[in-house]
Amino acid sequence: MDKTMILVPGRTTKQGVGLIDSKFKKDYREATTTVEINVEDMARLGLEDGCKVKLRSADGVVTVKCTGRRTEDLPPGLMFIAYGPPTSKLMGKDTAASGMPLSKHLEVELKRVS
């Protein structure tokens, strides 16, 4: 089942520490390929911690691992992921004459893959 959600990419400490070491190493890859999803959304969509989901925006598609977050931390309908190559693939290419592609609040379709 596909579900349209809002994805908010952003900075995290783990991602920051990882990029200082190397973007090609496990810590950075792990930090940037894990999407946080509201636990109620996860239950509704039949997702468990650690399962893989496909995120599809108008500009790209990536497969990442998911982990649950409490509703107090992340409201339903919203997902969070650390900046990295996967979020870049989902970013818009149109900058609306500003130079800035839409990089946060991305509308994505979510689908379980494993």
Binding site: V8, T13, S98, G99
Partner: protein, 459 residues
């Protein structure tokens, strides 16, 4: 060989460098005390550093990489300079992009290089606070140094940013728990407000957390502006923003009645729908509040010297980013002369990436074009962009191996102290060498063109 810091004490193989600067983020904390094992070429302690600063200093190790790669094959710096100069001198629409993790001295040389080539220069600002740079040209800004904010601000509002994870010492050094001249009781003398779409790690330090719906920042800002001016606001705003009228009115009262207020804003405003309109709205709100009290609105900047890039490009061209020289004078046009657009549209036919990694951070369509054109990269690390580049230079690390100047996010210049030498050249040395060679090639090209014209006329 790089110059070593002057403010250093040595004992045996151990050197202590005081007042070193961490260049990881825009806080540019210049109170680092580094303990360096000179023989092992390692930094063993980084007193005062945050988690990101510790990672930067304690993980620092000069990688044993080739000085340069041309087409993936090992080359000398001189060979790579020649290849890079040939690429740039023969390009019709080249671009320099990046510059936020290098010194102002290098940035200055990079502007000179693009001026000579008649190309485009853009920094990571265009995908960071570029929209703020556009907005402040339209509405201005009420600003201050972080030192002034530390000493005076009694109301601190963070909007669309997560400094606990991106600028970890922002709270302790400048705005929340810092002891100021008129805020001697630290956090007790301040009210902290956090406005965001989600509960970030920055929220626990706040006295008030306001959760706004995604994509409704502009509407909330505009409603607050109206309430500040005692105008009527449609009650439907609550549904649109997810924020109650009571919460808005309470915030407005706090803003109007504080002694000195500050709005720190992050990329939650610039990277979302509205972009420069969001930045203009928050800058305008800050200015409006000066009718009642002293109020500041200022962006939080991520990269160590991204503010330096804006400053240097602005003082040399009149504009902060996205500048083109093809008509012989600087032209500023975000959307036309900004890196993402130039790569996505396929306009750029060569690129020099200075201390940045668009191969990892840019949208796929931009990366696809970068793969088609000759790219030149200068970076201490092997990056996604270096992987796709025709020429990749390994350079020394600014702030660790290379001295120079960087601008803190509030526009205060900070001198960088070094602690270890490097066998690799600095960005400035490489850019200077490329500049000199490009200059020779362009002069030769001009002479050859002139000689051809003469021959044609004679014939």
């Amino acid at each position: 060989m790089m110059r070593v810091a002057e403010k250093a004490k040595s004992e045996g193989n151990i050197k202590i460098v005081e007042d070193a600067t961490c260049t990881f983020c825009g806080c540019l904390c210049d109170d680092m005390v580094l303990t360096v094992d000179v023989d092992a070429k390692k930094i063993t302690k980084a007193k005062n550093a945050c988690v990101l600063g510790k990672a930067l200093f304690l993980n620092y190790e000069e990688e044993d990489r080739p000085f340069a790669l041309i087409g993936g094959k090992e080359a000398t710096t001189a060979e790579a300079v020649e290849e890079a100069a040939q690429i740039l001198a023969n390009a019709r629409f080249p671009i320099i992009y990046g510059m936020s993790d290098t010194t102002c001295e290098t940035q200055r040389k990079a502007v000179g290089l693009m001026d000579m080539l008649g190309g485009t220069i853009d920094s990571t600002t265009s995908v960071c606070h570029g929209p703020t740079g556009m907005a402040l040209q339209g509405v201005g800004e009420s600003t201050a140094t972080l030192g002034e904010i530390k000493n005076r601000a009694d109301l601190v509002i963070y909007w669309g940013g997560n400094p606990a994870e991106s600028l970890p010492r922002h709270f302790a050094r400048y705005a929340v728990t810092a002891k100021g001249m008129y805020t001697p009781n630290r956090k007790k003398d301040r009210t902290i407000v956090n406005i965001d779409v989600r509960h970030t790690k920055s929220v626990p330090v706040a006295d008030i957390f306001i959760q706004v719906k995604p994509g409704a920042d502009f509407e909330l800002l505009w409603a607050l502006r109206a309430l500040v001016k005692n105008r009527h606001v449609d009650p439907n705003i609550e549904k649109k923003t997810g924020v109650s009228m009571k919460t808005m009115k309470d915030l407005v009262e706090r803003m109007k009645n504080c002694r000195y207020g500050v709005l720190f804003f992050g990329m939650g405003l610039t990277m979302t729908r509205g972009r420069h309109f969001n930045s203009a709205a928050i800058l305008s709100l800050g200015s409006d509040l000066n009718e009642y009290t002293h109020f500041i609105a200022t962006p939080m900047r991520g990269h160590g010297n991204v503010t330096g890039a804006d400053t240097v490009v602005a003082w040399q061209t009149g504009y902060p980013f996205g500048v083109n020289f093809s008509r012989g004078y600087p032209k500023f046009n975000p959307g036309e002369f900004t890196a993402t657009d130039m790569f996505v549209r396929g306009d750029a036919d060569a690129g020099l990436i200075l201390a940045s990694d668009p191969g990892s951070n840019f949208t796929q369509a931009a990366v696809d074009h970068m793969k088609k054109i000759p790219m030149i990269v200068l970076d201490p690390k092997y990056t996604h962009t270096a992987k796709l580049a025709r020429v990749a230079f390994t350079t020394a690390h600014y702030g660790i191996n290379v001295p120079g100047t960087a601008y803190r996010s509030d526009g205060v210049p900070i001198e960088l102290r070094t602690c270890l030498d490097s066998k690799y050249p600095s960005d400035e040395e490489v850019i200077t060498a490329i500049y000199r060679r490009v200059e020779q090639l362009l002069i030769a090209k001009k002479r050859s063109k002139g000689a051809n014209n003469k021959r044609q006329k004679a014939a």
